[in-house]
């Protein structure tokens, strides 16, 4: 069951048990809601974007270990990035998880989620936060779903 250990790495358990940036943000200027109807995972993402830069990111919601850890790691990774850099991370993360795509992007800590690639049924858990990020940056009013 070594591939289970690849999926459920210690860092993921840590972020699942103690999710970072897990709070509502009063002064957020971009928010979006994500929902995975298949398993019921839900999250609300809060961003504070100032002059094209994400100065703060947080989330709230409930989900499996993969989706919670992914949202926690993502919000950590976003802080201080420009919107353009965040979009680059989105594509890099997507490629990492699906095993597709072009030139590798340095994803830093986010790479602990690479094990998801071997679990196709869990890809949507890992990408829910990122699709919600896309919606927040596009400022779509509608909640996004993974379906």
């Amino acid at each position: 069951m070594s591939d289970l250990r690849d999926l459920y790495q210690e860092v993921i358990f840590d972020h699942n048990r103690n999710p970072r940036n897990f709070r509502a943000m009063e002064d957020a200027n971009r928010t979006a809601e994500g929902f995975n109807p298949l398993c019921g995972d839900r999250l609300t993402l809060y961003l504070k974007v100032d002059d094209g830069r994400i100065v703060d990111a947080s989330f709230q919601g409930s989900g499996c270990a993969i989706s919670t850890a992914s949202a926690s790691l993502m919000t950590d990774a976003l802080k201080g990035r420009t919107v353009e850099e965040a979009e680059g991370l989105f594509h890099g993360f997507h490629d990492l998880i699906t095993g597709e795509g072009g030139a590798p992007v340095d994803l830093g800590k986010l790479e602990v989620l690479s094990g998801v690639r071997e679990f196709p049924t869990r890809v949507k858990c890992a990408t829910l936060a990122w699709h919600t990020l896309n919606a927040a940056l596009d400022d779509q009013g509608e909640p996004v779903t993974t379906e």
Binding site: L4, C39, G40, R42, A65
Partner: protein, 425 residues
């Protein structure tokens, strides 16, 4: 409550020995069970989603295509005659299986979902008007909620919902209060797919009939586990799916009392269901053809016939007794695992073990069990109102069939301990 009633429905009275059932011989009939998944023997516990198929069903479908394939009810040639005889022969088997009064009362459909949609679209549109009420329960599958919502929106009717208790039983006092002179139909699951509760359907039907209200039973989960006698139950409609009773997907049955079916307008228009067609007017065929427009799933029906033969060969009472013993064993084992909580503890219960683990999301449970060869379902089981009742986003669900064993329950419980271990709990 109707405890004694439910008990009599599904297993021999306490004290009698359940009929012996040779599980190993039964398992030998199911080719798919004999394989490894991720290097572990497959333990298939997702039977409420769909059951596996015995060799007899696989062979019947294959034999039909290899020897008798033709369209039904139209050709003058030998193959068409054989296909028609086989297809209609299955209707006879279904009649015996449900103890319906007549084959005219049995409509072949794609499955339970289509059966309920058919009733909503025909019976519903003809008889349910603005201000009328349709009475459902909190434990219904989405397929016994959404068709009624669509109808209610179209005609201006209202949906009323019988609540459930925390053990997963219907609050019968509320049912009686919600049954009013505005109620036009009661639609209720015979056996809940998310909780395993066997509902007191006789009592429901009797109370509804006393108020002059017809009752539809969603039998998708019940048909493989409980002996169903539609005349004894006196239900007005009964729906079930072939694939949950060891038959093929894409075939199911709607039973309806002849008086209703005669009265209802057709569902879909097309070939097969007409008597005469002209551009000014068409007249419809007799029952059951009136509700079977187009070429039906003939091979599926043949497979369903083989599945019914298979189930009747073992006997539903023997199947129910075996599954009950496996479920009781699983419930006791679940109670012995710290941090494991069973959702749905109705006194009358069959087949379903819905559960949650402290600190672990059901989706993670499903993945880790899967890697041990254990196939369970994780999610809301198409019963979001049930999840809402328990304030859960989802549960994990093991559901048992005739071929499951206590050894497989042991494997499940060992798998669950492994899940807890992976999570460091």
């Amino acid at each position: 409550m109707s405890g004694a009633e439910g008990t009599a429905e599904r297993r021999p009275a306490a004290g009698t020995t359940p009929p012996a059932l040779d599980v190993e011989r039964i398992r030998a009939d199911f080719p798919v069970l004999h394989q490894e998944v991720y290097g572990k023997p497959l333990v298939y516990l997702d039977n409420a989603a769909t059951t596996q198929k015995p060799r007899a069903v696989i062979d019947a479908v294959s034999r039909f295509y290899a020897h008798d394939n033709s369209n039904v009810h139209r050709g003058v040639h030998a193959l068409s005659q054989r296909a028609t005889e086989e297809y209609e022969g299955v209707r006879g088997k279904v009649r015996e299986f449900l103890n319906a009064a007549s084959e005219r009362e049995l409509i072949f459909v794609r499955g339970t979902t289509e059966a309920i949609n058919l009733v909503a679209a025909t019976f519903g549109r003809a008889r349910i008007r603005a201000g009328d009420e349709i009475l459902l329960t909190e434990m219904e599958h989405h397929s016994n909620i959404v068709p009624w919502q669509l109808l209610a929106e179209q005609v201006g009717a209202t949906i009323k919902v019988v609540p459930i208790t925390d053990t997963g039983e219907l609050v019968m006092e509320s049912f009686e209060q919600l049954l009013t002179d505005r109620t036009r139909l009661v639609a209720v699951a015979h056996l809940s797919n998310a909780l395993g509760t066997i509902n007191p359907v006789r009592r429901i039907i009797q109370a509804a009939h006393d108020a002059g209200v017809p009752v539809l039973l969603d039998g998708a989960q019940a048909a493989p586990h409980i002996r169903v006698d539609v005349r004894e139950l006196d239900c007005d409609f009964y729906a079930f799916s072939g694939h949950k009773i060891y038959g093929p997907t894409g075939i199911g049955v709607l039973y309806g009392k002849e008086k209703w079916l005669e009265d209802m307008p057709p569902y879909q228009g097309g070939g097969e269901m007409i008597r005469q067609v002209s551009f000014t007017r068409s007249t419809y065929g007799d029952l059951p053809a009136k509700f079977e427009a187009g070429t039906p799933n003939i091979a599926g029906a043949v497979g369903l016939g083989a599945a019914i033969d298979y189930v009747r060969g073992i006997g539903l009472d023997a199947i129910a007794a075996h599954e009950h013993a496996v479920l009781e064993y699983a419930l006791a084992a679940a109670d012995a695992i710290p941090g494991m909580r069973v959702v749905g503890r109705a006194r009358e219960k069959a087949s379903i073990l819905s559960f949650v683990l402290d600190g672990i999301h059901p989706h993670d449970i499903g993945t880790i069990l899967d890697r041990q060869g254990l196939a369970v379902r994780a999610g809301h089981h198409c019963a979001m109102p049930v999840m809402e009742h328990y304030c859960l986003p989802a549960t994990a669900r093991a559901s048992f069939a005739v071929y499951n064993t206590r050894a497989e329950v042991d494997a499940l419980m060992a798998g669950i301990r492994k899940v807890q271990e992976v999570f460091g709990l």
